[in-house]
Symmetry: C2
Subunit: 192 residues, 2 copies
């Protein structure tokens, strides 16, 4: 009567090895892409990683990776994992609560339909994206789902800024590495 | 380096008290609406509940309730909680996997943008809804988020049937009871 999503041991160790803060946004993304590569190489989930940072200081709150298959939880996408760990660490469901610094979600690929919908609830004020949804689908075969066609403006309307195409090539390299492996593509179609 | 969402004690006890199967779909919804009322009355989360059933037999797999505030997890909506508990119980991320019976999600209000996006990943083949998104927003003040404008057909396209307006009046009674209480409305706006 509960569910639990854990990070693999290597990711716990890598989280502990991260600096307290990563000031430059490209370097935040570089760290996230590294987690996506390690998750693929360790075979501990899909090739996706996400981090929650304090936007101005770059303080690292939590980095998560995709855990769908090992955790047996279809919603354990990297964004949900990183946001949930950050929220339980800070003991609040709202990363945009009063007296809190602005938080930023950094992710190696555009959030899927579900993760997009989770962003306004999380309280993050900024989303930084590497590869586009089209790049992910073309390179990996993952289905990104029925995201709102005006997803950018729907986030803007809610006071959430969106930055795209940050180190997209580097992110796509990992998706190519994934495609060349025999790791499973699980998605809505796999069950049909 | 993990996150965990638990059901409150009363919901664990109520889950154990449920019959093995609930054959009639209206009765499945009646049980879910009861959980939504109890979650409000026990002050253990928002007025939302969801259940995963075997579609044909009505076998109860898991019933979850909204745990956003007590769990400090913004994505701990009833649908995500019920689906994740069901998946970890059955040890699969895909409730629509090969050799499995069809699974049905029964929920007291139309899924929000995030939960809508989570449905294709879950593997459920059928969604049964009581109150509409408009009814929830009008009665409670909760924001249902930027759901895809063609959400019904996006689910149909993926082989997921949608049944709406099942005991909507009974579900709305709980939302009215919520509105008359002083329980918090947490959503994307609460942090802005």
């Amino acid at each position: 009567m509960e569910f639990r999503v854990t990070l693999p041991d290597w990711a716990i160790a890598e989280n502990e090895r991260l600096p307290d803060a990563i000031v430059d946004v490209e370097n935040r993304m570089r760290a996230i892409i590294r987690f996506s590569r390690l998750n693929l190489e360790h075979q501990t989930g899909g090739p996706f990683a996400a981090g929650v940072f304090e936007k101005d200081s770059g303080k690292v709150v939590a980095v998560g990776v995709n855990r769908v298959v090992p955790a047996s939880v279809s919603s354990a996408h990297a964004e949900i994992v990183a946001i949930s760990i950050a929220q339980q660490k800070l003991e609040t469901f709202d990363l945009g609560g009063p007296d809190m610094p602005d938080h930023q979600l950094v992710v190696n690929g555009r959030p899927c339909a579900m993760c997009f919908g989770s962003i306004p609830w999380s309280g993050v004020r900024s989303v930084v994206i590497a590869a586009s949804g089209e790049q992910i689908e073309a390179l990996t075969g993952f289905d990104e789902g029925p995201i709102h066609p005006a997803w950018r403006s729907e986030l803007h309307k809610r006071g959430i800024e969106v930055t795209e195409d940050v180190l997209a090539n580097e992110a796509c390299d990992i998706f190519r590495q994934f495609a060349a492996s025999d790791r499973p593509v699980y998605n809505g179609r796999s069950g049909s």
